[in-house]
Subunit: 400 residues, 2 copies
């Protein structure tokens, strides 16, 4: 119902929005202050003074989101209804293109001798060997029963496969005996709708066995985590805004692609991301830009490095402001308190700047200032896109 309401109210205009996600930027207090409070952030401070602040809950009270649900929420999709299964996640992490309805699986290269699995990791072959095996399969196997597929090496002995056929459903048990000394276990459908998927996966395994028959270690594969990509509208279908996602890491590029954003390849630093953003600023209505290192420092439990990463991020803020987007949102996809070395459930500060943004009393971009003075209050992350659209003038009046 909500999507219909949204569709009914959407109106087009020339506005542009920029969503900048500093991954895991929120935290909790250590000796009374968070990383954001400890950091020197003159640019964020100046922006906060003329913005609306608030705190968002990525998924729900007490729920700690992974990167998938954290970003889906920021993009305005229900992260509980649209869960991202293991196969899809592995494919995204490998930087593979995943389209609506695709079926993805993760695989291990493994060793089979005399019809028994003798090593579930093929002697823990290195990533380079894995890539070589994947290329060998790719060269020998064009499709599975007419179904196009992509295959890509992940880390070590792992790889991911995406089958581009939306009729393939994901209720398939793992094709993995789980222990050595047993014969391979074929994929089995959990219900009739997924029989064709099990068949395709088993044919894929057969094709791999044939392609790798002369390999001493990696002569078969185990396949797990069958998952369909969420059946969701693209970002542009949902909001009427053309969109791109600018990120360095494959996972975030994959998540942007999952909602149909255009994604540039080959960027390796924040400077390069910003240079790309500037160059392509006129080409899209909506830009999502992802900065990773606040999260990395938090996950390492390094308070001081997280502070330094926040300061590095702060230094880039004038570049975002200089583009004069109609709406600029700065936030995180979740908190990553360095005291926990993990993602967490804590609410995440969010800043919204724009012509019609209320200039509240929050003077810094911190959790505390947002809690004490933020006019946005606490809100579900999923609602942020509604505020973006409204501040862009892209939502018509509801009712007369």
């Amino acid at each position: 119902m909500f999507d219909n309401l949204l569709a009914d109210l959407l109106q087009k205009n020339e506005t542009k929005a920029l969503l900048v996600v500093s991954d895991g930027i929120g935290g909790t207090t250590v000796n009374g202050r968070t990383e954001l409070e400890a950091a020197k952030t003159p640019n964020l401070d100046a922006l906060a003074r003329r913005s609306s602040l608030g705190l968002h809950r990525p998924v729900g009270y007490g729920l700690t989101p992974g990167s998938g649900p954290g970003h889906l929420s920021l993009f305005g999709y229900d992260p509980i209804k649209n869960q991202i299964g293991r196969g899809i996640l592995e494919a995204l992490g490998c930087g593979m293109a995943v389209k609506r309805g695709d079926l993805a699986v993760r695989g291990n290269f493994a060793t089979m001798q005399n019809g028994l699995i003798t090593d579930r990791r093929a002697g823990r072959i290195p990533t380079e060997k894995c890539a070589e095996l994947v290329a060998k399969i790719r060269a020998k196997v064009a499709d599975i029963d007419g179904i196009e597929f992509d295959i890509k090496a992940a880390k070590d002995y792992r790889f991911a496969v995406v089958f581009h056929e939306p009729s393939l459903k994901d209720a398939v048990e793992d094709a993995d005996p789980q222990q050595t000394g047993l014969p391979p276990r074929p994929a089995v459908a959990k219900n009739p709708d997924s029989r064709r998927s099990a068949e395709v996966i088993n044919r894929f395994i057969g094709a791999v066995n044939e392609a790798l028959a002369d390999e001493p270690l990696a002569n078969t594969c185990l396949v797990r985590g069958a998952a369909n990509s969420p059946d969701i509208l693209t970002f542009e279908e949902k909001y009427g805004m053309s969109a791109q996602g600018i990120a360095v890491y494959p996972m975030y590029k994959g998540l942007a692609r999952l909602v149909g954003m255009q994604v540039p390849e080959g960027l390796t630093t924040l400077d390069e991301e910003i240079a790309w953003l500037k160059r392509t600023y006129n080409d899209f209505d909506f830009h999502f830009l992802h900065f990773k290192y606040t999260d990395s420092a938090g996950e390492d439990g390094d308070f001081d490095r997280k502070v330094a990463m926040i300061e590095a991020f702060d230094a880039a803020v004038p570049e975002f402001v200089a583009l004069e987007p109609d709406v600029l949102v700065i936030t995180g996809d979740h908190a990553t308190p360095s005291s926990m070395k993990l993602h967490s459930w804590h609410p995440v500060p969010v800043l919204l700047a724009g012509r019609y943004a209320f200039e509240d009393d929050a003077k810094r971009f911190t959790e505390r200032e947002a809690a004490n003075f933020g006019i946005l209050g606490q809100l579900p992350a999923q609602e942020l896109m509604m505020l973006v659209l409204a501040n862009c003038g892209r939502l018509a009046k509801f009712g007369a």
Copy 2:
């Protein structure tokens, strides 16, 4: 679906949580201040400085909860989906054990002459006489048609009955003619599923009539408020935490039992409750402790006595802190403003202390400080348990 999500994310560890409910502790302003603001609460103040504060809505905006929904919400159950009918409430108030699916009714002893009800309250017999009649019934009636039941005297001429048979459904009209001079009205099922319940209730009335045939006043009974106990998971099933409920008054012991908590008997003061808590602290993962007198004073409309009761409660706070629970939550089940002499809909302050709790700027445990500075914001009471679990490290990450 949400309960499945919760079940999927739960993980076990050795943490302990303590939920202390000071009944009706919230209020509204009288001459500009609430009872909590007027009270001297050095211990709560000190704790508030290192805790996260917020305001919870027990059931919903504008909704004034009874004790039942107030506590079910704090325990994380939906108080609207899981309503507690009159029969169950009376049984809980009598201190009876109520299990999932039980059918409970409330009764009046009454006088019947020549086939007509001549007094619906049997001359308002005193509680002692009521207990004597209940004992007489209990001695003569072992079961109703093979169904085990418990019966207990309430106040004056009232009693409660619990039938331990989960197939008995509660759509049964009151067996009460509502006025004197009429013949007794049998229980009538409102739908076919409850026919057996009506039959059992009518047989129960028949058995009472027989057992009390020689009583001059209380020679029959009227039966009302047939209600099934809510069909809910126990607290331990829902959260994977063993739990006890420590309370003085039967109603709160009954509510704790309703969700499957262990409940000690015979405690009569806060000191005894705390002594019990200390003695059994290692025996449970979760402890709920109930303090009644803040509510009583509020219901009496006595601002100063409510202040004094808050101060008495404050004096006990160091005992809770000394146990060093991983998560300590202090709150009320609803507000009871002394200016209203009633429960109210006002949001209730809540304090959450723990290793990962954000130390916000709230310096006192008051409604105002929570509103101005509380990082928890305003939240549904039902979500508090999610924060307890998260702060205990008992919820795995959602999605990768």
